[in-house]
C-alpha cells in the first residue's frame, strides 16, 4: 500500500508542514517518525523562545554575569549563533534582540503579552558579550542582554525533524517557508520550490527544483514593527537600523540552520558583500534588492 502523509501544526510562530512520500508498507513507522519530527519543534521552542518567560533562554537571560549550565539544545543554538556572528563580523548578531524590542518587536505576536526584563538590557551589548564554554557546557552573558535565536532555532528544528524523516528518503519539512526537501516528490521528480516575489505575494520570483537541500529565505516583508509599519524585523546589528537595501535573500545549503542564519547575515551585508560571504561559506544564494535586481552566487541555479 502506498500513501503520502502530511502533518501540519503550529509552532515557533509559524505553520509547520511535514510531508513524507510513502513507498513501503510501514505507515506506522512513518507516523511515528512524523510525530517525533513534530516533537522536535516543541522541544526547540521550549528551550529557545525569546517570548516565553518560562523558556530556558528567558531564564538564562535573567542571570547575566553567571556561568549557567544549559541544555544541549540551547548550548548548540547559542554556540552556532555566536559562530555565525564571528564569521560575519557582527553582521549577524543574536544580541540584536534588545534593539528589536525597542522597535516594537517586544511581545509574543501570538498572545500579545509583552516581555519584561528584570535588568534592562545594556544597549552596548554585542555578540562578544556571550561566552560559550564548550567543556563545561555553560553560557555566560557578560552584560544584561537579549538573545534572539529566531533564525538559528527554526533552522535547527527543521534539521532535527529532517533527521527523523531521513530514513524515508522522500520528504519535506516546511516551517513557514524555510524548508528542507529530502529526495523526490511523489512523481519521482525533485521537489518544486517557489521563491516568493518580495513585493507581490501572488507571484513567484523563481521556481527551483531541489533535492536533499535546505531553502531558507529572509525577507523584509515577513514581519513589521507594531509601532512603525515602515520598520521590518531585520536589523543591522551594527547600527540598529532596519536594513533597507535588500528585499529578500534566499540561501540554498545542505542544512537549514546554517541556511537560515546565513540568509540573515547576507541580508545585512547587502548586495555588495553578501554574495562573497555566502560563497566563502560554500552555500548558494539569491539576493533581491529593493529595486528588484537579482544578485546570485556563481553556483546558484540559473534559468
Amino acid at each position: 500500500m502506498t500513501g503520502a502523509l502530511r502533518h501540519t501544526f503550529s509552532s515557533m510562530g509559524t505553520v509547520v508542514t511535514l510531508e513524507v512520500v510513502g513507498h513501503d508498507d510501514s505507515p506506522d513507522a512513518r507516523d511515528a517518525a512524523v510525530v517525533r519530527a513534530a516533537a522536535w519543534f516543541t522541544e526547540i521552542q521550549r528551550s529557545c523562545s525569546r517570548f516565553d518567560p518560562d523558556s530556558e533562554l528567558s531564564r538564562l537571560t535573567a542571570r547575566a554575569g553567571e556561568a549557567v549550565p544549559v541544555s544541549d539544545v540551547l548550548f548548540e543554538a547559542i554556540a552556532f549563533a555566536v559562530a555565525v556572528a564571528a564569521a560575519s563580523d557582527g553582521a549577524f548578531d543574536p544580541t540584536v534582540g534588545h534593539r528589536m524590542e525597542r522597535l516594537g518587536f517586544d511581545r509574543d505576536f501570538r498572545t500579545g503579552v509583552p516581555m519584561r526584563h528584570d535588568a534592562p538590557p545594556d544597549p552596548g551589548a554585542t555578540w562578544r558579550d556571550v561566552l560559550v564554554d564548550a567543556s563545561n557546557r555553560t553560557v555566560t552573558l557578560h552584560r544584561p542582554l537579549v538573545l534572539d535565536l529566531g533564525a538559528v532555532a527554526k533552522g535547527l528544528a527543521i534539521d532535527l525533524a529532517a533527521r527523523e524523516l531521513a530514513p524515508f528518503g522522500d520528504f519535506v519539512v516546511d516551517a513557514g517557508g524555510d524548508l528542507y526537501c529530502g529526495g523526490h516528490n511523489a512523481a519521482g521528480a525533485p521537489w518544486s520550490v517557489g521563491i516568493r516575489h518580495p513585493r507581490d505575494p501572488d507571484r513567484m520570483l523563481r521556481t527551483l527544483a531541489v533535492s536533499d537541500c535546505a531553502v531558507c529565505t529572509s525577507g523584509d516583508y515577513e514581519r513589521r514593527s507594531p509601532r512603525d509599519p515602515a520598520v521590518h524585523h531585520l536589523l543591522d546589528p551594527r547600527t540598529g537600523d532596519a536594513v533597507s537595501t535588500l528585499a529578500s535573500v534566499t540561501v540554498l545549503a545542505p542544512l537549514a540552520m546554517p541556511a537560515d542564519a546565513l540568509a540573515t547575515a547576507a541580508f545585512v551585508l547587502g548586495a555588495e558583500a553578501g554574495p562573497s560571504f555566502l560563497e566563502s561559506q560554500g552555500v548558494e544564494g539569491l539576493l533581491v534588492t529593493t529595486d528588484l535586481e537579482q544578485v546570485m552566487t556563481p553556483g546558484f541555479p540559473r534559468d
Binding site: H7, D31, W40, G194, R196, C213, Y221, V283, D303
Partner: protein, 246 residues
C-alpha cells in the same frame, strides 16, 4: 571584510548531530506516549491519522512563502494529518540516509544537487485529499438526535461533556483568519458556525464543514480540495472554541 575562517555548514552539522543524539531519547518517549492514544484528537498533541490513498498523483509545490499573517490570537498546536495518494516510485530505499552535510569526511560542504526547470512558471498548486472516515455516522445537519448509531460509534457520545454555553475560537492560515463559534447544550455541540471569515477566499468553499462539527461532535472535519488552508483554519478555530468549553 575578513574572510570567514569557520565553515558554518560543517559546524551546523556537528551541532545538529549533538542535539539529536542527546535529545532523542526524551523526544522519543514523548512521541511514544502520543502514539499510544485512544484515537481521540487532542489539540496539544501530535496525533497522526493515516488515511486511504486517493487516485491521482500530483506534484505538490512547496512555496517558500513567508508572508504568514501575524495575529494576536493564541496559536494552536493542533496538528492534523492528511495524506495524499501517490504512485510508487522506483527508488532504492536505504535503511538510513545521513544528512547531506555528513557525506564524505572532508570539512567542505557537500555539493548541492540542484536542477532547474526550464519553465519558470509555477506548477499548479493542487492538493488532492480524501475525506477521513467519520468516526460518528453522519446525521442531518444541526439535528441533535441521540440515535443508537451515535452512541455506538466510537464512543463519541460518551466523550467528556462540554460545558453549556457559546464559545468562539480563531484559526489562522496563510490566507487569513477564521472565527468559529460553537453552542453547547446539555453537554453536546448543537451548532457550529463561521462567525468571522477574514480569509481572502470565500468561506462558502468550506460551507460543508460546520455541520460536520455537529454530526461528528468534534472538530474533526474534512479537508476540502482547493481550500486546504481555510479548512485548516476552521479546524483550529473549532478546536480553540471547544477547548474553552471543557
Amino acid at each position: 571584510m575578513t574572510p570567514a575562517k569557520t565553515n558554518l555548514v560543517a559546524l551546523g552539522s556537528a551541532a545538529v548531530l549533538t542535539v539529536y543524539g542527546a535529545g532523542y531519547v526524551r523526544t522519543r518517549a514523548a512521541a511514544d506516549r502520543f502514539a499510544g492514544d485512544d484515537g481521540t484528537r487532542h489539540p496539544a498533541e501530535a496525533a497522526v491519522v493515516h488515511l486511504a490513498d486517493s487516485s491521482a498523483a500530483l506534484t505538490p509545490e512547496i512555496r517558500v512563502d513567508s508572508a504568514l499573517p501575524e495575529t494576536s490570537h493564541p496559536s494552536l498546536v493542533a496538528p492534523v494529518a492528511r495524506p495524499q495518494g501517490s504512485k510508487p516510485t522506483s527508488k532504492d530505499t536505504t535503511p538510513t540516509i545521513p544528512l547531506p552535510a555528513s557525506k564524505g569526511s572532508d570539512t567542505s560542504p557537500a555539493a548541492v544537487p540542484i536542477t532547474v526547470l526550464s519553465d519558470s512558471s509555477a506548477a499548479p498548486h493542487v492538493v488532492v485529499t480524501t475525506a477521513p472516515a467519520p468516526t460518528a455516522s453522519t446525521t442531518l445537519q444541526g439535528t441533535q438526535t441521540a440515535s443508537a448509531t451515535d452512541s455506538a460509534s466510537g464512543g463519541q457520545a460518551q466523550r467528556p461533556l462540554y460545558r453549556d454555553g457559546t464559545y468562539s475560537g480563531w484559526g489562522t492560515s496563510r490566507h487569513g483568519d477564521i472565527q468559529a463559534t460553537v453552542q453547547i447544550q446539555d453537554g453536546r455541540i448543537i451548532s457550529a458556525t463561521i462567525t468571522q471569515c477574514l480569509t481572502r477566499y470565500s468561506c462558502s468553499r468550506i460551507a460543508a464543514l460546520p455541520p460536520q462539527v455537529v454530526s461528528r461532535q468534534s472538530a474533526d472535519v474534512d479537508y476540502v480540495s482547493g481550500a486546504t488552508q481555510s479548512a485548516n483554519a476552521f479546524y483550529y478555530a473549532v478546536v480553540e472554541a471547544l477547548a474553552k468549553a471543557k
